[in-house]
């Protein structure tokens, strides 16, 4: 009798152990798949793009249609200008909203805003483009760098709002109380104590948002519009790497395909650098807060 019980117990245990092993392997395969997809994309980009990267690619303007040579200098500069403009729009609004939600908002209002930012985060990027076309391009009567940066900046707002709210909230309550006890007004506590303590996390949020919008094409199609030259003023159309990749990839010219691969490689390297930069802020958070 005792023997029988043990046996069935063993069988159950064995079955569970096997299931456990199988599921671990399945989950491992899922994880490996994620890595594999990333590597296969990278491998493709490097295999196709690396050979097309030459000094001309970084220093020259695009050539006339169907002619070989030239580069994407204007698009590379354009992407950085657009990102700078996007930061100008997205960071003040996103950070401001995040701080308000954490420090001031009533529970119900905060809940509503949080829900709305999530909705905003799910809005397809082309919609931001159309919105910017309507409120920037049409009244200003011109495609422009500003309208492109505006569209990208709007996309960054929900991401920055949520991350900065979270990181501001994580600042220990004792720090706030200590500041207030010393007689500091609340705004001084926020700017002098809370923000410096949370800056690492906030910067990470900004960088991640930046990395996400850096590769956006759809919001730029009818805002930044693309430019065959360098842009002379922010009120003019401006080139951007994703736009250039899009234009070149659908073209029938093999030299443009080559440059599209090279552009994709450059773009992904830029996004990588921004992401690594974001990690750097997480790890050096203590140093930042200790700094001042």
């Amino acid at each position: 009798m005792k023997d029988l019980v043990l046996k069935s117990f063993d069988a159950t245990r064995l079955r569970r152990e096997i299931w456990d092993k199988v599921m671990v392997v399945v989950l491992f395969l899922c994880a490996a798949c994620v890595l594999f997809i990333l590597f296969i994309i990278l491998w493709h980009l490097i295999a196709r793009g690396l050979s097309s990267l030459n000094p001309a690619f970084f220093t020259h303007l695009p050539k006339a249609v169907g002619e070989s040579g030239g580069g994407m200098a204007n698009a590379i500069i354009g992407t950085f200008v657009l990102l700078l403009l996007a930061v100008g729009v997205g960071v003040p609004l996103g950070l401001g909203a995040g701080v308000y939600l954490s420090e001031y908002a009533h529970q119900r209002f905060a809940q509503t805003v949080r829900f709305m930012t999530d909705v905003l985060n799910g809005v397809p990027s082309i919609v931001f483009g159309i919105f910017s076309y309507t409120v920037c391009v049409l009244p200003m009567k011109s495609f422009s760098a500003v309208s492109g940066g505006f569209a990208l900046g709007l996309m960054m707002i929900p991401m920055i709002t949520r991350t900065s709210e979270q990181f501001v909230k994580m600042v220990p309550h004792q720090l706030r109380e200590a500041g207030l006890a010393l007689g500091l007004p609340k705004w001084r506590v926020i700017t002098g104590i809370i923000l410096p303590s949370a800056i690492g996390g906030i910067m990470t949020g900004i960088m991640v948002a930046l990395a996400r919008v850096a590769g956006e094409t759809a919001p730029l199609l009818f805002t930044a519009f693309g430019n065959l030259h360098y842009t002379q003023s922010l009120m003019q159309p401006i080139a951007a790497i994703p736009l250039q990749i899009f234009n070149y990839a659908v073209s029938p010219y093999s030299d443009w395909h080559r440059q599209a691969w090279a552009g994709a490689l450059v773009l992904i390297v830029i996004v990588f650098i921004i992401n690594i930069w974001a990690q750097y802020f997480v790890y050096s958070r203590k140093r930042w807060s200790a700094g001042k």
Binding site: A64, V65, L84, L138, L228, T231, Q232, S233, V250, P252
Partner: protein, 336 residues
């Protein structure tokens, strides 16, 4: 913070270095894209103070953007309709820049250039009635060509396109069935086929899909080495799309004062039947646009005269000389 300020300052400095140059923005036709970018390159040595930015987003979008005055000039190969003209906030001139032929290009394994197409066959293919390359209607015209038993992949434009306007206008004028079922416009509801964005996109479909056929501006077929056919014209002659055959299409056709003329299915026996004008769209009143008006008019005058030699190298047909004289008069009416 200091770094950011320095960056902004550097940016400001860099942009001010270019100040004094005029930048003109245009959008629209992909038909003229190869020619117009080639012109920009050459024009740089004539007036280095003017820069052109042209985005080939299709004639339909070009008309929309010039109507909204978002761009300084538009490019189209399908003339604006009366309704579109009325919707614009000012009078818009259609300035013919080049004439071009549309190649019936195809990708059939083992079949070289010069396949013969009759108007009936073309209408049949795009109506979806002829679906295989060994259809007797095609083989009857092409004895000696080994046409495979292969389904036809029909390519057309997905965007609002002047190239589509010319092609559907042609089909409407040769096929009553097409005229009643589909009609002509910059975008129509296609009975069959795959859509490609721009002449670039259709060329892409053609190079990548064996068994495909599509209509593209001649320069795209030649640049991409896609074989194209000869088409039977209204006199029953099979004609190859060439610069000469396109010029012939325009000779003898009365051109109205606003230049919105169609030259498809010309009665000239030497003419290639599927060709058309590509127009630049400019507002008559460019006053208040600063130096842009003069720069644009100067460029247009150069393009229709000296520029024609450059576009001819890309197989666009030069404008007839009597037409150029009329265009110059119209350009002089633009106020700036």
């Amino acid at each position: 913070m200091k770094k950011l300020l320095a960056l902004v300052a550097a940016l400001g400095f860099a942009t001010s270095a270019w100040a004094g140059q005029i930048q003109l923005t245009g959008a629209g036709s992909t038909f003229i894209y190869p020619a117009i970018t080639k012109w920009f390159e050459a024009y740089d040595s004539i007036d280095p103070n003017v820069q052109f930015n042209y985005q080939a987003i299709g004639s339909g979008a070009g008309i929309k953007e010039i109507t909204d005055k978002i761009v300084d000039f538009g490019g189209t190969d399908g003339p604006m309709t009366e309704g579109q003209m009325a919707a614009a906030p000012g009078k818009i001139y259609h300035i013919p820049l080049v004439m071009g032929a549309e190649a019936i290009a195809y990708n059939i394994p083992g079949v070289g250039p010069g396949l013969k197409f009759t108007p009936d066959v073309l209408a049949g293919i795009w109506l979806g009635e002829i679906t295989n390359w060994n259809d007797p209607k095609i083989t009857a015209q092409n004895p000696g060509v080994n046409l495979p038993n292969m389904p036809i992949i029909v390519a057309h434009r997905s965007d609002g396109s002047g190239t589509t306007f010319i092609f559907t206008h042609y089909l409407s004028s040769v096929s009553p069935e097409w005229s009643s079922k589909v009609g002509f416009s910059t975008s129509v509801s296609w009975p069959v086929g795959l859509g490609g964005k721009g002449n670039q996109g259709v060329s892409g479909i053609l190079t990548q899909n064996p068994g495909s056929i599509g209509y593209v501006e001649l320069a795209y077929a030649i640049q991409n080495k896609i074989p194209y056919g000869v088409v039977e014209n209204s006199s029953g002659n099979f004609v190859e799309p060439t610069v000469e055959a396109t010029s012939e299409a325009a000779s003898g056709v009365p051109i109205p004062a606003d230049f919105r003329a169609s030259i498809v299915n010309s009665s000239n026996p030497k003419a290639y039947p599927i060709c058309g004008f590509s127009w630049m769209l400019i507002y008559k009143n460019m006053a208040g646009e600063g130096a842009k008006g003069k720069a644009l008019v100067d460029f247009a005058k150069w393009a229709v005269t000296d520029g024609q030699k450059i576009s001819a190298q890309l197989d666009y047909a030069p404008l007839p000389s009597d037409l150029i004289a009329k265009i110059m008069k119209t350009l002089d009416k633009i106020s700036y």
